[in-house]
Point group: C2
Chain length 225, copies 2
Amino acid sequence: MNNKKGLPAGRQAVVLLSGGLDSAVTLSLAKAAGYECFCLVFDYGQRHRKEIAQAKKIAKAAKCQYQVLKINFPWKGSALLDNSKVIRVSAQHGIGKIPNTYVPGRNIIFLSFALSFAEAIGASALYIGAHAQDYSGYPDCRPEFYRAFRKVILTGAKAGKNIEIKTPLINKTKAQIIKVGNALGVNFKLTWSCYKGGEAPCGKCDSCYFRNKGFNDLGLIDPLL
Amino acid sequence: MNNKKGLPAGRQAVVLLSGGLDSAVTLSLAKAAGYECFCLVFDYGQRHRKEIAQAKKIAKAAKCQYQVLKINFPWKGSALLDNSKVIRVSAQHGIGKIPNTYVPGRNIIFLSFALSFAEAIGASALYIGAHAQDYSGYPDCRPEFYRAFRKVILTGAKAGKNIEIKTPLINKTKAQIIKVGNALGVNFKLTWSCYKGGEAPCGKCDSCYFRNKGFNDLGLIDPLL
């Protein structure tokens, strides 16, 4: 039995949702591809709770189920987790070097849990919104990392060959991502990108820089501003 | 500056410790290789707390630091986690098929956290006691899985090329593991293998079967019996 789009009924995907712009667009792409989406949101001791609250709102707006999973990194090691560290603004906004907001092994851990969730519910895809503009800085946003992780799934998971990793934004710029999101009706007002959790975005951190540049490149105004 | 064994000072390893026989021997091998060992113990909702208590005792007996990390698998999916499921004893004791004690993605998640821990403390090795006798049943105990995970570390982690995965038991039988442990002075009385958490091992589950066979093959008596 196929659904309206000619895809097998019951095709399910686990979508990693952070509350940011990228993962919101990723969710809309997974839905557009005909998947029934189960969102996975991590509560990992990030500096502010705002992105978790926004992730829930994004999942609800998309009429998708979500699971908030608490995980601990008692060893810290990143400015995103350790409140004693100041978030460094890189001179070139993260191009070519690893920023101090890198959390050791974060995306590997996130994908591992997503895989576990996918196996448990019989999902056939994992969606993650990693993309090009990040991977100059964060090693776990590079395409070769996802190819290697796919091999881990194939060799180490019971449902291995049935689970694909989807990174639909991997080669897109922020402007292209925003354009796709607009076409799919993503409400960017629900998304939060700033590393700080204030009332309004700080406008200065790497994440604000790339978000602003994306909207500016399209001649649009960020609905959060 | 080198230590007595001619190894660089400060060589540190993260050792996954379950409270079982295999990981206790793995820890002793890591110490024998000259590493300063940091044990990582997972509290993941397993059926009984006994293996966590034993893991702590094993770490203390080895004079090593340990970290107990609580992780959640809210989606269940394994007889080891879900108390409503009966642990199935496979007709051939797990040979050639995946037992229902398989926890989706468990070793992938464990390794991911170990990697994060290793990066945070600057360790150069991850030790895990996976071995041949398991890998006919559990896909995440196969050598090719560890080779694939090494590639994930190389491509996705900041400290990638500095961190090795060590699986010193991978091709050993249970009898060979026990022999190595005896040579290194492992106190097997501190180790717990039974899937049930009773006063004494049940003697019937797959884990008891392999443990008993190991001691029997060497003409030894398990100190727990």
